[in-house]
Amino acid sequence: MTSRMLRVSAIEALSPLVSRFRFEDPEGALLPLFSGGAHVVVEMPDAGVLRRNAYSLISDPMDGSGYEIAVRREDGGRGGSKFLHTQVAEGDLMRISAPVNLFSLDLRAKKHVMIAGGIGITPFLAQLKQLARLQMPFELHYAARSRAEAAGLALLPASPQVHVHISEEGNRMDLGAILGSQPLGTHVYTCGPEGLIEAVAETGARFGWPRTALHSEVFMAPPPGAPFEVTLATSGKVVTVGAHQSLLEALEAAQVEVQWMCRGGACGRCETGVKSCHGTIEHHDHWLSDDEHARQTKIMPCVSRFKGETLVLDL
């Protein structure tokens, strides 16, 4: 995954639990633009553990001067958000991946209806900016328990198309009313707790919505990046694979020749035999079959990693 070091240029509390982080290129270079719904993976070296969390970009997709994310502090959950809230200060450098979009707008839609629960508002903040620029009809529904928790309020434009539902104030979101009254050709996007995504799917099914008109946010699991070691059978040499390296890159750095082509787990060129394996190969390729993955006798060094005691490669 391509990535770059960016400087944290601003941190701002949006609510007691949610803060906005802005990242800019240290030299002031423009960053690649993106499409609404894209996320970046933020790397956090947290006391010896390398955490990688995906966060939706909330800034204007057409503005390359910086990337912004909104992060909710989850003390019990994944450590990354806590790290961002407690360990990161303005001026710090952090490694941020190139934007990837797995939740893009279907630009064929006649109208876009966005349904957000809680922190699930984030991908829509960028999509709203994109839709405004494309001048496409839309409607956004944002549900939160209380006004204090509704961090998105500060970032939403005041517009008749933006509807805020605060359950504490008795103003609950009525999915039947929302989905029951849309013109043909509307697409619906949901991001929030699993329960909300399921409820939208059920309501949609009840009203006979085509499944392909209902979208929901799924983050790609960021590739794990713990360092590990492999042993080469012919030379007995031990190669250490760093957190930011692929096994292929580590082998290349150690001047071991491995064929490659796509460097993305698809072409099969880098397929390498495994002599012995005490542990688990973390297969991330699309090349080997499920059976081959289970047998642990082959590995695709361009994308796959290892966790365990020893991995001896046929090299």
Partner: protein, 346 residues
């Protein structure tokens, strides 16, 4: 290096020709003495100096003539260029990619000045100068994809990504190896690849699609594809089969070296920023057999590849009828000596 643009044709009198340097830089597609489909994708991150892999969008001695040929085809058949309404943003993304790349890679040929959304484009080989507002299609003579692909060699498809698939929702296709944009428009990756033999069973398309869905901005990839064409004709479309199909029957032992061309497509794949679409330029290179065999390694290897190619592939690529004539001709240039690995001349 200044490029001498040829005044040549790709139809009627077929005056197309490669210069000696043009032959040396031809992207010969075989890195071994046999060929079968594979997921042959590699990063498009430059290549040997002077080769067609070096620049993001290769511009060569045929540029001006190819653009003239495209204009003729479009006048006769406007449906060669189509863009479904939701693809306009992808068109702008692609226009930006090409203008930025070409002006950086060939500053003597192309210039792009940008002041916010106010852009100024100069294309010297084609004598074009255009001021326009980025993302405002009313300021260009035609849509953004059509505008830039009338100035960029190769066919182009723009793929929308949704529902875990890629959809051919826009394209400029005037130099294709017997497929039709008008037929394929709106199809997904598996649908438009349906006619290809063997590759589905081999899992080529399923793997390639998974890879492409994860394609990242700034990390383009490329692959080579090839076929055989009689006469240096760019427009070998199903729409015009009646014009070029019968020409296959004109190939004989005494003219095959001059008339039979190896047709190579350098295909690149680019993730586009604002639209999340993928751009798929298909750049076509033509080289006659008699020019190919001036590189001894290529003569030997092409003989072996074509001789041993599975019949289904020769049928699909449309040269099965002439295969014996071609192989006989090439046999004279194959002394049985071993060939070196890789595609480049020795």
């Amino acid at each position: 290096m200044t490029i001498q643009f040829h005044d040549e044709t790709f139809r009627d009198d077929y005056t197309f020709h490669n210069s000696p340097e043009g032959i040396r830089r031809f992207p010969f597609p075989f890195d071994a003495d046999s060929y079968m489909y594979s997921v042959n994708l590699e990063p498009h991150a430059g290549g040997k100096a002077g080769s067609p892999f070096e620049k993001r969008f290769d511009v060569d001695e045929h540029y001006v003539a190819e653009m003239r040929d495209r204009a003729i085809t479009l006048t006769e058949d406007p449906l060669r260029c189509q863009s479904l309404p939701h693809m306009e943003l992808a068109g702008w993304d692609f226009l930006e990619l090409v203008m930025v790349s070409k002006s950086e890679d060939y500053p003597e040929l192309f210039t792009l000045n940008r002041d916010g959304d106010r852009w100024h484009w100069i294309n010297r080989p084609l004598g074009i100068e255009q001021r326009f507002t980025f993302l405002d299609a009313t300021t260009l003579p035609c849509g953004p994809m059509e505008y830039i692909t009338r100035q960029t060699q190769g066919d182009h498809a723009l793929l929308d990504q949704r529902d875990g698939n890629l959809w051919m929702d826009a394209g400029m296709v005037t130099s294709q190896a017997d497929w039709s944009l008008d037929f394929d428009i709106g199809m997904n990756f598996f649908e438009w690849h349906a006619p290809v033999p063997k590759a589905h069973e081999m899992g080529v398309f399923q793997r390639a699609l998974k890879f492409l869905l994860n394609l990242q901005q700034g990390a383009p990839v490329r692959r080579l594809n090839w076929t055989m064409t009689v006469n240096p004709r760019l427009d070998t479309s199903p729409e015009n089969y009646h014009k070029w199909g019968p020409e296959k029957r004109t190939v004989a032992a005494d003219n095959v070296g001059a008339k039979q061309y190896l047709r190579v497509e350098l295909q690149t794949l680019w993730r586009l920023p604002r639209s999340n679409a993928i751009a798929f330029p298909i750049r076509c290179y033509l080289c006659s057999l008699e020019d190919i065999v001036t590189v001894p390694k290529w003569g030997r290897r092409l003989h072996r590849v074509l001789r041993d190619l599975p019949n289904e592939l020769a049928e699909y690529k449309g040269f099965a009828v002439n295969r014996p004539t071609i192989v006989d001709y090439l046999a004279a240039f194959d002394d049985g000596a071993p060939t070196s690995p890789g595609i480049f001349p020795d």
